[in-house]
Amino acid sequence: MIILKNICKKINNKKILDNISLTINKGKIFCIMGHSGAGKTTLLNIISLLDNPTAGEYIFNNQNPYSDIVKFRRKITMVFQEPILFNTSVFENVAYGLKVRNYDKEEIRERVEYILEKVGMLEYINKKAKYLSGGEKQRVSIARALVIEPEVLVLDEPTANLDYSNTLIIEKIIKDFKDKDRSIIIATHNLFQVRRLADEVAHLYYGRLIEVGKTDDIFNNPKHNLTKKFINGEMFF
């Protein structure tokens, strides 16, 4: 379970996140929705231990994750909006997280083949990653995160640059990964995707947490005017 208490983030004296308090439970898909520039990526970077908050407290399974950052980072894996792949084969890309954890060669091969089959990329196993299409690259980067079986899977706009068929493939992969012992956190501005995937939703607006709740409650009965406007597409920037 992740607990954020009064998390603030300032960059060059500009407030990016302002007093964010959140609880993210296991076994749920938690979506953070908000317009571009709302602070979603910054919040995900903090949750993934890739960035430090300026103020506030972060509790991961009742422990302070900054006490042993490498150990806790190994429990949380983030997939970035733009798929970043190493300049090597699909196999080597997906195997990376297992290699740094010192898995033996046979297990690495087995796990990589299994996960690539799950995301429909097994036939590309020996192909150079740079020759893949955008959708294929994103599938490989998701496979690379899933193969580690992290406790928390963090996805930043995972389908932002993809066509509809690739979006559906990736959404299915995410749903299949859902498990009672795992949390999945997704940042997106795609409201349809939020409805299709999320169990719980948080609405972020210029670094402030406007509203948090169950997906149906947020969409059918939003409490805050800004959330209502965002859902109805009445928010212009």
Binding site: L50, V70, I76, T77, V100
Partner: protein, 239 residues
């Protein structure tokens, strides 16, 4: 005789002269000197550039600006500075017998290309670090594994910097002429310092165009091959 006729005649004679032992001797020395200078430069510029590229520290911008400034110093100025350093009476490296010696040219060319090589490596590592550090961290890599991955991803750029450095070294004249002195005694290869650029310059001012053109063809062929390899590596990095 018209200048065009000179060039055509010189070019035709040059094709016969390319196989001449004198020409081949100079070409081999050029490759040896500039190749050694490149290896020597990589030996000290790679570790320093990696440290500058990977870490943030006070004065980093100043160091990077200095490196870029040094990369633009004309070779004749390098020649002058090195001459004053190598001169036996009073030069800080005077006791090492580097003046009119290939070792002196090697060290000089190595110093000439170090800023060029360093700036390419620093830029490459900074860019690679920006892209891959967070990715390595989120996949569970510790600091050592992250740095290893960043260096692995930067390797084609390090190779490229060496090739660009070699190209610069083999085509420079100022250091080879000022420090080497263009010495050539047939059969005394240990003392000879004549390389392609100094030989082209000498034969041109003596109006021995055929020999100058033959040497020029060899130098251009080397540069062409090096550029071809450079473009191939660049293309494979970028695609």
């Amino acid at each position: 005789m018209l200048i065009v006729e000179y060039i055509i005649k010189g070019f035709l004679e040059a094709l016969d002269l390319i196989h001449h032992p004198y020409i081949l001797d100079i070409a081999c020395r050029s490759l040896k000197v500039s190749g050694s200078a490149t290896i020597l430069s990589l030996f000290f510029s790679v570790p320093i550039s990696i440290l500058i590229g990977l870490y943030e520290f006070k004065g980093k911008m100043i160091i990077k600006n200095l490196i870029n400034t040094f990369a633009g110093i004309p070779t004749v100025i390098w020649g002058l500075i090195l001459y004053l350093m190598y001169v036996p009476n009073g030069g800080i490296l005077g006791k090492f017998d580097l003046l009119y010696n290939v070792k002196g040219i090697i060290l000089g060319q190595a110093l000439l290309i170090t800023p060029l090589i360093s700036s390419i490596i620093i830029d490459a590592i900074e860019k690679t670090e920006k892209i891959f550090r967070k990715l390595c961290y989120t996949l569970g890599a510790n600091e050592f594994q992250t740095i290893k991955t960043i260096l692995k991803e930067s390797l084609p750029w390090i190779l490229l910097s060496g090739i660009i450095g070699f190209n610069r070294a083999i085509s420079e004249l100022g250091i080879a002429l000022t420090i080497g002195g263009n010495v050539y005694v047939p059969g005394a290869s240990d003392f000879n310092t004549r390389v392609l650029t100094t030989a082209i310059q000498m034969h041109t001012v003596r109006a021995e165009f055929s020999t100058a053109i033959a040497l020029g063809i060899i130098l251009l062929t080397i540069i062409l091959i090096v550029n071809f390899i450079t473009n191939y590596i660049k293309k494979s990095i970028e695609t």
